[in-house]
Symmetry: C2
Subunit: 223 residues, 2 copies
Amino acid sequence: MSSEAHLELGPSSLTDALYESIRKRIVNGEIPQGEKLTEVRLATEYNVARPTAKAALERLTGVGLLRRTAHKTAVVPVLDEAEIRDLFFSRITIEKAAVSALAATGEVPADAARAQVAIEYAARDRLFENQVDADISFHTALVAAVGSRRLSRMHELIIGEVHLSMGQYKAHRKVDPSTVASEHAAVLEAIAAGDPAAAADHLAHHLEQAEARLLSTLPQTRS
Amino acid sequence: MSSEAHLELGPSSLTDALYESIRKRIVNGEIPQGEKLTEVRLATEYNVARPTAKAALERLTGVGLLRRTAHKTAVVPVLDEAEIRDLFFSRITIEKAAVSALAATGEVPADAARAQVAIEYAARDRLFENQVDADISFHTALVAAVGSRRLSRMHELIIGEVHLSMGQYKAHRKVDPSTVASEHAAVLEAIAAGDPAAAADHLAHHLEQAEARLLSTLPQTRS
DNA sequence: TAGGACGAAATTGTTAGACAAGAATGCACG
DNA sequence: CGTGCATTCTTGTCTAACAATTTCGTCCTA
């Protein structure tokens, strides 16, 4: 790994750019679970002042992508089975509410349909990382389509950790893309049919499957 | 208002103490809606350095108790009708999930029962602020009893804004405490009876009433 | 050799001062 | 009376430094 990272142009604030860059490296698994991130290390790597690095770390801690306690250095969290279960319980709560609300209107969000297509392309080309990103986009688009700022904010918290765990365990994952595609399609169909209960059921089933797939890749707790 | 505020002893970190102090002043309505909070003002008021004040403001922004955009000063948000509706939609989503889960176990959380009593005492003594705090505690206890760290974190986001709006509009509120008490009691009874659907229904009804009570205190949008 | 205590190094928390850049305000001029 | 410019306010970022706390390695002792 290079000793210096560079920030893409774009975000107005330097802290924003730093936050976004580190966030991507964490959710992609580039920075592995358990790794410690000190303020000075990041500051020197990115050529920014320590307070700037500190601010980025604090924001990442706020969204659950880092953990730290007072005077201790931030680490990328290691999600064990109990935490993954809690994560998916919370996720199902939010996303069920989202698809129910969408089904009540009967309109399938265009962004979600587009993401669904992107997943298939990525799967065909064996681009695992793109496939994960597209899957995240699909679920995020569903929630965003509800139009509730607060629901989206809560979902952002959750989906960040989901992204983290998918990225961290990617080496072990062997998921049949067509299975995911059909599960997604079932949800969209129920939304189009205007059937909230069916949409919620299909979504819950899909997420339970996703949870099981993720749990099966977890390293066994050694005796 | 005094030109200097003092921090209570307790929280380990200075930033934590500052965050907590400002948070309380906002949710109690002591700092009114629309008020601007500049970094230097807080820094001088509390006798801390500007970066410390900045950190506290950023954390408050992160939980929705302040709003700010780049280079602009933070302000206490003014929640209009649409935002209150969104707030309660999100709140109902989270709390329904919580009471359903609790009813599945059939155990009434002790903390919630205690908070229920505290509400009655506060109402009897006409201590409005305590009444609000106890009500918040009741709902927070319900969610906390589920034992899901992430559900509690999401709820914290929501309940903060709920607290804010209750505190800001308190002058206009005239709520019958016994009504609230009986609505709460219905939820607890359904949990004790182990009936998830009934618990969710009673809770939704209670929160819809609370939403309506809050909306009725909103100043009319002038033509 | 194993264990614990002590001390040094690393890391974070907080402060001060400074400068640049963007936003808001008011005044002057057309 | 309205518009544009300049001043002022406020935030974003940096450098430097010290205090407080944690961590780690070493050394001494049993």
